[in-house]
Symmetry: C2
Subunit: 304 residues, 2 copies
C-alpha cells in the first residue's frame, strides 16, 4: 500500500469561464468539485496505475464533507481525521478561449495541537503494511514545520521508505529526518536553499540528510541527484497540457517503483518522467493519460 | 408582512481578490457565503427597515442547505420549498485594488412541474395576512414564464397588492395579470418592450395592464410612470458604492410604503430613491446604509 499524507487538503472547484474578463458578469455552468490536495493526487495516480493506495487527510466543515463524499464516490481508500476548521477550497477559473487557468488558493484552517496529534497517530497506525509513505503539499497555517519530518521519522522506524514533497523549513527538517527522497521543483528548491543552481541546491539537501533529491524542471525534465549520481531525464519532445498534478505523478512513480523493488535511478527517472508527462496530458490533476506506459521507453536519461 | 418570492435563489459567494489577474494563482481568504437572490434581498431590506417580512424560496442540495442555514442565522423568516436540483451559487470576485466585481453567475437547476406547483401553493398559503407580495429575479431554466403572473393573480384575488421585478416574457405576463407595480431597469425595459425610450417602454407596460411602472436609471435616478403621472426622482448628488441590490431596495421601499398606506407617487419615489442610494452605500446586497432615513428629504422629484 502506498500511504499518502495530505496535511492541508482542498476541495478543488473548477469553473469553466470562456473569456474571463475582470469587472464583467458572466454566465457559467455549475462547477465541478473534486477532492484535491497533492497527497490525494498521489493516491489517485498510484491507484490508476494499479497499485493499492490509501490517503490520510483531515476534513472539516461542509467542504470537508463534500471532499469525503467525493473520495468515497471515487473509491479512494482513505483515513479521514475529522477537524473543527473548515476544509479549504481551491477555485480554478479555466478559460478555454485564452487557454489560461486563474487559481484562487485559500490557505486553509489551522489545526489544534490535538488534531495534529491525531493526524500523526492515524499515519502511524496505517504505516503497518505500507510499502511507502509520501507527505505532500502545503501545511495548514500555524502548523509546526516539523510535522512532515516527524512522519518521515515514524516511517523510517517502521522500516517504510518515505518521500517528502514539501517546501521551506519543512523540507529542510524532512531531509534532516532522513527522507529517502524529496521532490522540490526548481523554484521551491531555490527558495528553500537560497541557491539558484538546481545541482547545488540538491547537493545542499543531500548534505542535510536526504537520500535522493528529485528536482522537477517543468518542460525541461527531471533531475535526480544522489550521493553517487547526477542524472537528467527528459522527453524526446515536450508535451502540452495541464501541468497541475505533474509533480504528484512523479511522487507516485517513485513510490510505486520502490514498492516494485525498483531502486536504480535511471529506471526511477524513466517512470517518473513518463508519468509526469501523462499527468500533463490528462485534463484533471491526479489522473494519468491512459498512454502513460507507452511513454516510458522513450524517456532520455543522461548524466547531469 | 411583506411576502417576497425568489423563484431562483442563489448562494452568494464572495472572494476578496486584490489584483485579480487572469492566468495567475492568487492566495485568497475563505469566501463569505450568504443567502442571495433578489427576493431574499427585498425581505432583508424590509426587515432592516423595521417591517415584518417573509421570504418564500426553493432550496436544494448542499448549497441549498447552506442558504437555509444562513437565513436561519440571520433571523429572516422564510418558507422553504425543498427541491431536488442543487441551488445555484453566484460567485463574486471583489477586487478592492481595481475597484471591480467579477461575477460568475450560474443559471440554476430546473424545477419539476410538481416543484413549481408546491412553490405556488406555498405562496398562496402565505398570502393570508400579507401586506404586499413581491416576485423578483430570474426564473430557473425551463420554468414557465407565466409563474410570476400566476402569483400576481393569486395575490390580487387575495386582495394583496403585488410587485413584479422580472424581465422579458415573464414581465409582459405579470403586467397582463395586473401587477400593481413593476420595476425593470432601463436595459431590461428596452429588452422587454423593444423600445429604447424608457417613457415609451413604461407606457407599453401600462397598456398591458401594470399599475405603476418604476424604471431604475442607475446614477440618473428613478422614473415612476402611472396612467396619471410621469415623475423622475434623483439625488442631489450621485453616490458611489456597490449597485448590487439597489433595485431590490426600490422594491422593498414600495412594498413597505404601501403597507404603511402610502400610495402617492412622489412619496413612493422619495423612499425608493433614498433606499436605493442607501443600498449602494452599503457593501452588501440586501442591506441599507444606516443613514437611509436621512437621505429621503433631500430627494428631488419633478415631472418627467
Amino acid at each position: 500500500v502506498i500511504l499518502t499524507v495530505t496535511p492541508n487538503p482542498a476541495l478543488d472547484v473548477t469553473y469553466r469561464v470562456p473569456g474571463l474578463t475582470p469587472g464583467e458578469t458572466m454566465r457559467v455552468d455549475p462547477p465541478a468539485s473534486r477532492a484535491g490536495g497533492k497527497g490525494v493526487n498521489v493516491a489517485r495516480v498510484a491507484r490508476q496505475a494499479g497499485y493499492e493506495s490509501r490517503a490520510v487527510l483531515t476534513a472539516g466543515g461542509r467542504r470537508g464533507a463534500e471532499l469525503e463524499q467525493d473520495l468515497a464516490a471515487g473509491g479512494i481508500p482513505c483515513t479521514i481525521v475529522p477537524v473543527d476548521g473548515e476544509t479549504r477550497s481551491t477555485t480554478t477559473l479555466a478559460d478555454p478561449v485564452a487557454d489560461t487557468a486563474t487559481v484562487l488558493a485559500e490557505s486553509g484552517s489551522a489545526l489544534s495541537a490535538a488534531e495534529c496529534d491525531r493526524l500523526r497517530l492515524a499515519v502511524r497506525r496505517d504505516l503497518a503494511g505500507a510499502a511507502c509513505l509520501t507527505v505532500s503539499g502545503s501545511l495548514p497555517p500555524g502548523m509546526d514545520p516539523a510535522l512532515p519530518a516527524e512522519l518521515v521519522g515514524d516511517a523510517r522506524r517502521a522500516g517504510v521508505p518515505a518521500i517528502a514533497d514539501v517546501v521551506g523549513r519543512a523540507l529542510q527538517l524532512a531531509c534532516e529526518a532522513g527522507a529517502d527522497a524529496v521532490k522540490p521543483n526548481r523554484r521551491e528548491l531555490a527558495e528553500t536553499t537560497g541557491l539558484a543552481d538546481p545541482l547545488a541546491g540538491a547537493a545542499r539537501l543531500l548534505d542535510l540528510g536526504a537520500g535522493v533529491v528529485f528536482v522537477s524542471l517543468g518542460p525541461e525534465g527531471l533531475l535526480a541527484v544522489s550521493r553517487e549520481r547526477r542524472l537528467h531525464a527528459r522527453l524526446p519532445a515536450p508535451v502540452r497540457g495541464n501541468p497541475t498534478g505533474a509533480g504528484d505523478a512523479v511522487v507516485a512513480a517513485i513510490a510505486t517503483a520502490w514498492s516494485d523493488g525498483v531502486h536504480e535511478l535511471p529506471e526511477l527517472l524513466r517512470r517518473a518522467t513518463a508519468w509526469s508527462a501523462a499527468a500533463v496530458l490528462s485534463p484533471l490533476a491526479g489522473e494519468l493519460d491512459p498512454a502513460f506506459r507507452d511513454v516510458e521507453p522513450g524517456v532520455l536519461v543522461r548524466d547531469a
